[in-house]
């Protein structure tokens, strides 16, 4: 018995410290999370004054929050509030660096600080999606997205790096499980979820509805019953079924459908995508590698296409000597003299 326990602990220690688990998944997750924040900021940018401006109709965040975390509420202070555009610009630049995995850990910390400051200023626009991704952003600080295993010369440093990265990664998965567990169990006791009318009432509230959806749900009651029960069943079963690798793809496919519906039908656009982005933490490393490589393949195709076009232009018949002289030289080629 003692040997068996020791063996399990030994195995656990090895998993945690020997290698970075799911390196490609980590890299893909990082890119997607930061892309989500980038898209979110770009969507809000045309009305930036309404969200972060000095005259925005948003009450100042609770004094207790400011007192406990002054560093995260800088835009609530008169000294910083006129410079909200600088925070937005810094966030956009840092997010691009974050997506490109430049100085990953330092950039992750900076992204977190800038984003939290912007979000605390416009605190009334935050939803569960923001909440989840704020937490994931902290875990991303620990994750190593460089794809290089044991990149330090010092073995201890490698062990620390691997442990931090693996802990961060598994915490993201567990956090999503927690979201569904709390939400699912909460719904089980709700009367409207039990009698299958929850979807009907939600889609009859203007803020979470669409005229077409409103009509459909009234004309076809089975949509409400099926949708309400499927949502509860999905959320309650997710924490257990997601660990089964055979069921996982179907589960995540259904979840993605559910959250896309939340985005487009209920109008909680960025919330639906936030949860879908975190689903990528459950992706196998192999699939994540293929997705990341497919992007490289696309880049390669594009580069080859550009070079082919340029070389075609260069040798195109009928081009006079004078015209050839003004053509730009391809990098690495010597220009004709």
């Amino acid at each position: 018995m003692r040997i068996a326990v020791a063996s399990i602990i030994d195995k656990g220690v090895n998993i945690l410290t020997e290698n970075i688990s799911h390196p490609h998944t980590i890299r893909l997750l990082r890119k997607l999370v930061y892309t989500w924040f980038l898209v979110n900021t770009l969507i809000l940018l045309p009305a930036a004054n309404e969200f972060w401006g000095e005259n925005a109709l948003i009450p100042v965040i609770d004094r207790s929050v400011i007192d406990h975390n002054e560093w995260s509420c800088l835009l609530s202070f008169k000294f910083f509030s006129p410079y909200f555009q600088l925070f937005i610009a810094a966030q956009i630049i840092l997010l691009i660096l974050g997506i490109l995995c430049v100085y990953p850990r330092i950039v992750s910390i900076l992204i977190y600080v800038v984003t939290i400051n912007l979000d605390n200023k416009a605190h009334v626009i935050l939803d569960g999606g923001n909440n989840l991704l704020h937490i994931v952003m902290i875990y991303l600080v620990f994750m190593d997205p460089t794809l290089a295993q044991n990149r330090y010369k010092n073995a201890t440093l490698n062990q620390v790096n691997n442990s931090l990265s693996n802990l961060g990664f598994y915490l993201v998965r567990l956090q999503l499980v927690m979201v569904y567990m709390v939400s699912g169990l909460g719904k089980v006791s709700g009367e409207l979820w039990q009698n299958g009318t929850a979807l009907y009432y939600t889609l009859n509230v203007d803020e979470y509805s669409h005229p077409v959806a409103k009509k459909l749900i009234s004309d076809y009651p089975f949509i409400s019953v099926l949708g309400s029960y499927a949502t509860v069943l999905y959320q309650v079963s997710f924490p257990w079924l997601v660990w089964n690798r055979k069921v996982r793809p179907y589960l995540l496919a259904f979840g993605t459908f559910l959250h896309i519906q939340i985005s487009f039908v209920m109008g909680l656009f960025m919330f639906g995508f936030a949860i879908a982005v975190v689903y990528f933490s459950f992706m196998t490393d192999n699939l994540a590698r293929r997705i990341l490589n497919s992007k490289d393949v696309l880049k390669l195709y594009y580069k080859t296409y550009l070079e082919t076009r340029r070389s075609h232009t260069r040798v195109a018949p009928g081009v006079s000597e004078g015209e050839r002289d003004v053509m730009p030289a391809l990098p690495g080629n010597s220009s004709p003299k």
Partner: protein, 198 residues
Amino acid sequence: MIALFASIIFFHHIVCTILYNAPINPLTNSYQSYVTNYIDPLFAQRWLLFAPEPAINDLKLWYRIKNNNHWETWLDPLQPILVKHQKRRFTYNAKLLYVYGNIARDLNIKNLLITSEFPCAGTDKICLERVSDSLLASPEFTLAKKYVKQDIAKYFPHKRVDSLQIMIIQLYPKQFSERHSNKPFGYAHSVEFKPISF
């Protein structure tokens, strides 16, 4: 040693997250203070997401203006944004609904708070006046007034406005059994505030 240390941190974090999200139970008091102090600064979370019940009513702020001694019809300043949001989902209008919707929500909460602080009998005019005055002086009402004035300046820039009145209205959808009836909504609950000069 490193793995052991990392495992302890991991385990501690998971246990605290579970306890933070757990419903109130007989042991809550014994761990709540520690867990809250650990989770709240960076990992604060709330995952009800339409549980135990989904949203079942619209809380709106409406206003009307008085022009030449005549009160005009009630207006919903959020309606144009809502229409735009329903037409195209991926715009900032989704979040503008949160900003302006929050003004109505905060004002409603303040109103409930003040009326519970000063429980007046229906005929006690002095008491009712005191409730009304303290609400009109609140930052929530000031913000609502600012919002309405901005809306008037945007949509009726050349209109002469003598006074304005704000109302909070809660619209409940038709009951499921009445879904095919011609009623526009199930029922409404409204609170009209004292008119103020423009």
